[in-house]
């Protein structure tokens, strides 16, 4: 505890275990009274080796593996891989499958944004909004369950199409569900734009200008709340979005309040697209045939996940397993904005600002290269053998006397 006043700095650590965090991450806020003077982040507590794991699994197995990258936006990862493999194999999924993919993706976006609304309200101490929004989120979870049989990891995709069809009865129940959600979303929009105590915590907090957003590489709703028109569903429509276009929701204020408004307004857009799809669902097959072995090729897939731009790089080598799979999730792009904007704000605003980008820790914990090996029997500056890593790990913890 002696380190408390080290160099006359008062550092408030948040994490790796802290009530504000739903996943482990470590943040250090140097404070002067209540004002934050510097902020740093350390991630990597939930690195799971998914990319390496993918290399020893077949494409079909990987479909289920990548769904586990994120527990909230699981479907978009499966879609990304499916689209990528289809691109590598030169196959296109049938229109009905493309439309159902969009349907699931938009239901997932509703579920993700409502979850975020609750979490963000909780961080601001507004537990009533938290409870209400999570209660209503159950509706969309039920819809997803009735469509795919699962509430969280839906695995609606197969390579070349989708598994589940939308029957007319199911379409009706989805229509009823989203009618209810639309009404509730209107209420939430009213709450976050008119409740004075809530606005006191969100208005002019963490304001990010358009220039800053572009410079810091923000993506998704975080960037759109700062006036950056950036939505891959609009800019580079993929799959079913070609037939069912959406429009990007953009707000100009750039503060936390704008991030709330953007996400809630996106609910309306998602609901509109879902109605459109249910009314004009193309007829036909659900799957197209895809060869088991994928010829050597490379593909890049960019999708609009609920949190922003999701990036997949796939490299095939002629077998049924990938040569390389690289995933970059949107949370990673948004961290810089929080750390930059934290300075000058109050400590009390930190949890809401952290959550304002809708971070997903385990999604962005991928891999870091260690360029200057100090220990181990390494011969090369760049390449570490398994033995080197093991020794480094032992030494790392010994130095910390754990």
């Amino acid at each position: 505890m002696e380190s408390t006043t080290q160099k006359n700095k008062f550092i408030v650590p948040i994490g790796p275990q802290h009530p504000a965090l739903k996943e482990p991450g470590h943040f250090e806020f140097t404070v002067d009274g209540e004002i934050v003077t510097s902020a740093s982040v350390r991630l990597g507590y939930v690195h799971r080796g998914i990319e390496k794991g993918a290399e020893s699994r077949s494409w079909t197995q990987n479909l289920y593996l990548v769904e586990r990258v994120c527990g909230i936006c699981s479907n978009i990862h499966g879609t990304a891989l499916a689209l990528g493999v289809e691109k590598l194999a030169g196959v296109t999924a049938p229109p009905r499958a493309q439309a159902i993919r969009v349907l699931v993706a938009e239901l997932e976006r509703i579920h993700s944004h409502m979850l975020w609304l609750g979490v963000a309200a909780h961080e601001g101490g507004f537990d009533t909004l938290f409870m209400y929004s999570w209660r209503d989120r159950e509706t969309v979870m039920d819809l997803l369950e009735s469509l795919t049989g699962n509430r969280v990891n839906y695995s609606a995709n197969v390579i070349g199409g989708v598994k589940y069809d939308v029957t007319p009865e199911l379409a009706d129940s989805i229509r009823r569900g989203i009618d209810f959600l639309e009404e509730r979303s209107r209420f939430y929009l009213k709450v976050v734009t008119s409740d004075e105590t809530f606005l006191g915590r969100t208005r002019n907090v963490g304001t990010m200008t358009k220039e800053q957003a572009l410079e810091l590489g923000a993506v998704g709703p975080t960037a759109r709340a700062s006036g950056v028109t950036m939505d891959l569903r609009v800019d580079a429509p993929y799959g079913g979005y070609v037939d069912f276009p959406v429009s990007a929701v953009v707000e100009q204020d750039g503060d936390l309040a704008a991030r709330f408004v953007v996400r809630i307004k996106e609910l309306f857009e998602s609901i509109r697209v879902i109605r459109e799809i249910l009314d004009h669902l193309p007829e036909g097959e659900l799957t197209a045939r895809v060869p088991r072995r994928i010829p050597p090729n490379e593909a890049i897939i960019r999708l609009e996940a609920p949190r922003g731009e999701l990036f997949y790089f796939l490299k095939s080598n002629g077998t049924d397993q990938p040569e390389r799979l690289k995933i970059r999730t949107p949370s990673l792009c948004n961290w810089a904005s929080v750390m930059q904007l934290a300075v000058g704000h109050k400590l009390a605003d930190m949890p809401m600002m952290l959550v304002g980008i809708d971070p997903c820790f385990s999604c962005n914990d991928r891999l870091f290269t260690i360029k200057k090996p100090g220990v181990g029997r390494t011969n090369s500056e760049e390449v570490w053998t398994w033995e080197d890593l093991r020794l480094y790990g032992i030494d790392y913890y010994r130095r910390r006397a754990i």
Binding site: M1, E34, G125
Partner: protein, 303 residues
């Protein structure tokens, strides 16, 4: 009818009765907030179960604390709250002890809990505790004056600073909440600030500073602080009901009026987002203090 001092201290209205009613009111508060938030809420014995569990937990003494202060502070806090109960019309009966000007003593004894919590936070080296303690004390200095002013309103109207006489006076006149609505609102919100209930829970905002000043407390110490707060809730509600809701003459009136107040209190708790500590100070000194002063002036002119 006078109660023998030993019984008054140990069983009723002090001691056991206060402990039980404190736990009951905590349950009622939690249940009501839960219902407002569309949750089920805890069962009736949950606060008791929490309390017993905390008592049976290992008490950890952190490194670098003054052990005497660390263990003495929760005891002093609860003792202060228990003593305050002797001067208020608990359960609608006449206060056990009473003297001219005991209103100030009651308010002082109630502040002892907050003060002890602030000190408890500064005794430890924990960073969350320190920030929490700073916030606790900052908040105390912001709500204390308006709350005092708001409670003095009825006292001035009654022409006495003795709790029991104010209670009698309130029972004979129209409800003070109707005559002095501004004072009533300030006092009610002040009570929420005192008890660190949402939206005034910045000192123990879990998403920022874990448990605030009490982060290092476990086991008995934590149980006692919680109990102290529950007792303070009961006393606060009693005072409010006695002053502003037409006095307390019998146990039934006590139960109805305090629970009615609690209904209002828990609704206010679930309506707002948490205020930042600077917003709390601003609210109290810019609005609360002025309103309370205006109320006092009004009372002085009318009576």
């Amino acid at each position: 009818m006078t109660i023998p001092p030993l019984i008054a201290l140990m069983l009723f209205p002090g001691g056991l009765f206060l402990l039980i009613s404190g736990l009951f009111y905590e349950w009622a508060d939690r249940k009501l907030v839960a219902r407002y938030q569309n949750r089920i809420g805890p069962r009736w014995f949950q606060p008791l179960a929490d309390f017993l569990k905390l008592l049976s937990k290992e008490e950890v003494t952190p490194k670098g604390v003054n052990a005497f202060l660390f263990y003495a502070l929760p005891v002093v806090a609860v003792a202060g709250a228990l003593t305050a109960a002797l001067y208020v019309p608990m359960a609608g009966l006449k206060p056990v002890f009473s003297f001219s000007g005991d209103l100030i003593v009651v308010l002082y004894l109630l502040s002892l809990l907050t003060l002890c919590m602030g000190l408890a936070g500064t005794v430890t080296l924990n960073r969350f505790s320190l920030v929490g303690a700073t916030r606790t004390l900052t908040q105390m200095f912001s709500y204390e004056a308006p709350l005092l002013l708001a409670l003095i309103g009825p006292a001035l109207a009654a022409g006495t600073w003795q709790v029991s006489e104010i209670n009698d006076f309130a029972a004979q006149s129209t409800w003070m909440a109707l005559i002095q609505p501004v004072g009533f609102i300030v006092a009610l919100v002040g009570l929420m600030g005192k008890l660190e209930l949402p939206p005034f829970d910045a000192p123990e905002a879990e998403t920022e500073i874990v448990a605030g000043a009490l982060t290092e407390y476990s086991g008995r110490g934590f149980a006692l602080f919680r109990l102290g707060k529950n007792i303070e809730l009961v006393i606060g509600l009693t005072l409010m009901a006695a002053f502003y809701l037409g006095g307390l003459a019998n146990p039934l009136e006590f139960l109805l009026k305090t629970l009615g107040l609690l209904l209002l209190l828990s609704m206010l708790q679930s309506l707002f987002a948490r205020l930042r500590i600077d917003q709390v100070v601003g609210l109290w000194w810019r609005i609360g203090a002025l309103l309370a002063l205006a109320n006092i002036l009004l009372v002085l002119f009318v009576y």
